[in-house]
Symmetry: C2
Subunit: 301 residues, 2 copies
Amino acid sequence: MSLLVVGSVAFDSIRTPHGQADEILGGAATYFSVAASWFTPVRVVAVVGEDFGDRHLRVFTDRAIDTAGLERAPGKTFRWRGEYKGDMNEAHTLETHLNVFEQFAPKIPETYRASEYVFLGNIDPVLQLHVRQQLPQARLVALDSMNYWIQGKHSDLLSTLATVDVLVINEGEAKMLSGHSNLRRAAEAVRKMGPRILVVKRGEHGANLFTEGSVFAAPGLPLDEVQDPTGAGDTFAGGFMGHLAKTGDLSEANLRRAVIYGSVMASFAVEEFGLGRLLRLNSQLIADRFREFKNLAHFDA
Amino acid sequence: MSLLVVGSVAFDSIRTPHGQADEILGGAATYFSVAASWFTPVRVVAVVGEDFGDRHLRVFTDRAIDTAGLERAPGKTFRWRGEYKGDMNEAHTLETHLNVFEQFAPKIPETYRASEYVFLGNIDPVLQLHVRQQLPQARLVALDSMNYWIQGKHSDLLSTLATVDVLVINEGEAKMLSGHSNLRRAAEAVRKMGPRILVVKRGEHGANLFTEGSVFAAPGLPLDEVQDPTGAGDTFAGGFMGHLAKTGDLSEANLRRAVIYGSVMASFAVEEFGLGRLLRLNSQLIADRFREFKNLAHFDA
């Protein structure tokens, strides 16, 4: 089924202990849509500048991602420069140039209006709500946010949260949003704000899924080498929502599988800089890694 | 089957965001043996001072723990004072008084010599090796250590490691011991030092089991309240070794179950200060929580 994502497209300059890359295609909407495109057709709503060329566009169109909602604006594309040190658990932002993203006002093309699965990437919660309201037929709406909005636009974020089904968020952000340092209490409080499904991303430690009366823990897959964690969270969200949109099944069992598919895609993403690994996949590799997660987590009673 | 533990018995003074406790019975050998006593008969080798009274001894004897190896020495029992702040992931040591523990020279009673399952708690690796050599009939020997010995007695620790089957250690210690910041590479390097079975404790994030050609991830159970993390690692080891000694089964499937039993016992331990929760258990509660871990980790392919 149709999956729509709203978010950023950026050029990232990244340094990690394993190397560096300059001005490579990135951004939340990019990672999300490329990851999700392995599961289901994806529609993207984002803004890019005049420096966004045909070769960048082809990254989307080669994956059959619908770019009718990719707006071109006068000026330069969003740029981010960051660095990861040591165990690479945290990105240190060195430079952010919002450029055309600063005035981003998401426009939903007519052809996108009937989208059933929606991911509201990490943008101003006022814009997220605006998008949400233009998609009345959505069956499942998921949202990402960050500490910047949790602190700076708290009441707007609460208004938006009240209209969504799923929140996909980092552990630290879930705790900040709820004011609880205990994860189970934080999850309970966040679910009362609106989203009946809460996915807590824990980086290399995996992810938790909180639903009514149930908790699921997806493990982190120990990898031989993590080259670049950039985009892992959005890639996770892409695998998660992609699987749900593909199957149309919102049962607890399938939500759990979706968390694993999210983990599978994120585990690929971090193995190379940028989108590299996500563009060279196939359904067999994805199925094999899903089985690796199953072997990793399995024990008999 | 018989399970022997060598380690510390201490009086702990603990402050956490949830309260405090003064001079309560603790120490690695205490937590380990109480946890393991729910699975199998336990024998303890440790030293206590003149201030160790009958009511302290009864904690062991009420759990049918064999205290023939509990030496009484002139002086005071080992004392530790520590504090946990914020998310309680790390203990801040405020005071350590080794007292009688400073001269601890573990003596293995004749009746303990045929012990088949052995846990060498976190003490000087020279002493650990000395104990190891007195237990030639051991079928499975596990060892704990810490950064103090990894840095200060590296070559002694390597000599001891070469003689054991299992290393149970924290994630940071595994990385320090191996010199690798990547967990999978660290595990590979540590297993080459001797222990064919490596258990990496990750606190609230769970635990990993590394064996030949296999990795297992046990989830951390999100708890409503963590009162006091003291002794969680030794309690984990007690559940892990207790289950193995009880079943005598060293298959991969049973090693994974043992990691879950370790996690089960640790999850109880942290719910109250000191040994409180570990002393009020029964086999039904343990089985119920094992099932909770199963529900937490389960997903269908």
